[in-house]
Symmetry: C2
Subunit: 364 residues, 2 copies
């Protein structure tokens, strides 16, 4: 299949860039003795997950049980569900997954741990637990290391659970600028204190798991950390570039779109909007734009409706014709991939591999 | 199936409310002699489309050829693709659709019309055309009625096309407040001028098609208008309520979510984020919130990550427990439905009907 045969809008992935991204992060993790457990939320493909495992990942990360079910196809030795699993139906399905691979769940409450313990005991199985620390995002997790260790102690006493360590997500660090790096380095003391209290309580500490894509290549600067869970690095996106963690040429995935109207005075309309890109804004800065046009970087993707992308063009830009196909780097690739059934892997002008977005819509 | 068996996050639709919404708009259109051609982008289900046709809709509206292919299952007499169809592959598929039902395309350029004409002539078929007028949104369409009529005249001369009339989308009118209604009523003169010029050019004018959900019940106040294409009215959403076009009890669809963490000081985390709701903000006002919690309307849905919804609770609110299931009215139901594989039709505590979101991801 030639790239010109791809119907738009569609996600095209440069396989050379993808492979370089996989290798670069695998090398970084190996060199710094960090266990790499990539989050599969970005690609949602068991085929790319398998590529990650073959590049040396120790296991995979997912958010939902439905994603775990799909990711079994990648034959991971180990799966982390980095999300509290709540409710009997989900716990039953989680234990079915655990018949095929070693499963760990990240959680932040005794309620979640008790539900998991009950379900695991009933199934005659053992499930790993990471206790989640909130290091600044204010999402899931306990902020007080003493409370975290108290919860971990309670969990250690529950049947059918195996306490593995603790995890955190530094999602409050959006960029590797001075402010972001100060916030990131401040984590060292927090993690140090937490692990000291943890060990003082006589608890096993096999894993301290953290890491997001923006701060990825600084992970070794947190001495206590021994596992990282980046997701976006496989493709990178405009947010990653803005965060300072990737260069434009390290972005593997673009939206291929077609110009469908040039009536508007300030520019043109392309055939992708919020149902193609998602309406995610940039995670840093105040500019409200939705992507970067590769063919004219000075253009501004200023607005979206569901199926329409509004591109403003500077007076200096050349005229784009109706029917012309263009490449747009999305703000946030993870949510964009989630809107597509497949992603086209391209080498030069050749579509070499089509990745089904197998875990798309696996919300439960 | 009992509602308690639905795994969260999921979209639940109150069938009583849905049926009342369908009937109310059908009655309104009938009483005002307006042809009702609902946009199926909201529900993306051929089953609900069939319900609309059985309630008196003259045909259906879609945005993409892929949606047209799906909507054939509803057996419409007539399908409007309210979007320029550009490119040989899509035109070929459009003509396949036209073997099964009468097809009209809305477009705004001679390039789009010529492509359609060539493809239709090659297939030995005739396709209807609406020429799109831009009445204020600045998206697709010509703003100058003279240019619109000149384009229509050119199109009338192209083989295998049947000029049907013109269409517009008053998407710049976000609410039925004083400002919105002034903008809406200003359309009367524009449409009057356009149709006078159109008729003076000796062109056939069978259809003047407009209408969005916010201004739906004012459509009869535009004398020239004879067809409306509302989409959101089947379910309604927070935007529709904020626009003044629906009451809360006319909202049929909610997101059913589960509380997964109560660690954060200001509230709780539910198991739906931007991959469940979309990250669409409200279309009116400056408040950045992502939905309305039915069980505690004073709560604020202040932030989302992909799988996490951050709910702030006022001090007066009761404590929500981990595992509790809650209902959230989304800002924009169309983009939310597009993230789900199915929608659960509920009557009381009983899941009476499961609607597959058949046109989800049919972006091409």
């Amino acid at each position: 299949m030639h790239v010109s045969e791809i119907e738009t809008p569609a996600i095209v992935v440069d396989l050379d860039v993808l492979e370089r991204n996989l290798a670069r992060v695998a090398t970084y993790a190996r060199e710094h003795h960090l266990r790499l457990r990539p989050h599969t939320k970005t690609h949602k493909s068991s085929v790319i997950a398998r590529m990650q495992l073959e590049n040396g990942a120790v296991g995979l990360t997912v958010a939902k049980v439905g994603e775990a079910e799909v990711m079994l196809r990648a034959r991971p030795e180990d799966l982390l569900v980095a999300y509290p699993v709540i409710g009997e139906g989900k716990l039953r399905r989680l234990l079915d997954v655990a018949r095929h691979t070693r499963v760990t769940v990240a959680l932040d409450s005794l309620e979640a741990a008790q539900g998991l313990s009950n379900a695991a005991a009933k199934a005659g199985m053992e499930i790993g637990v990471l206790v989640e620390e909130d290091v600044g995002l204010g999402r899931v997790g306990l902020t007080d290391p003493r409370k975290l260790v108290a919860l971990a102690s309670s969990i250690a006493g529950l049947p059918s659970l195996r306490l593995v360590g603790f995890n955190f997500y530094p999602g409050h660090v959006k960029a590797v600028d001075a402010e972001g790096m100060a916030a990131f380095h401040a984590l060292a003391a927090v993690l140090e204190e937490t692990s000291a209290l943890w060990r003082a309580a006589g608890l096993p500490l096999e894993v301290v798991s953290g890491g997001s894509t923006p701060t990825l290549f600084h992970s070794h600067e947190l001495p206590v950390l021994n596992e990282i869970r980046p997701g976006t690095y496989v493709f990178n996106d405009r947010n990653t570039v803005e965060s300072g963690a990737a260069a434009l040429e390290e972005c593997a995935a673009h939206l291929l779109v077609t110009v469908v109207s040039t009536s508007r005075a300030s520019g043109m309309i392309v055939d992708g909007g919020s149902k193609t890109f998602s309406s995610d804004r940039l995670s840093t800065g105040g500019e409200v734009t939705f992507g970067l046009l590769r063919e004219e970087p000075a253009a501004k993707f200023v607005k979206m409706n569901e199926e329409h992308g509004y591109i403003d063009l500077p007076p200096s830009a050349r005229h784009f014709r109706i029917g012309e196909r263009l490449h747009i780097l999305p703000n946030h690739i993870c949510v964009a991939v989630n809107l597509h059934d497949r992603v086209y892997g391209v080498r030069g002008e050749n579509v070499e591999q089509v990745f089904e977005v197998e875990a798309r819509g696996k919300l439960q």
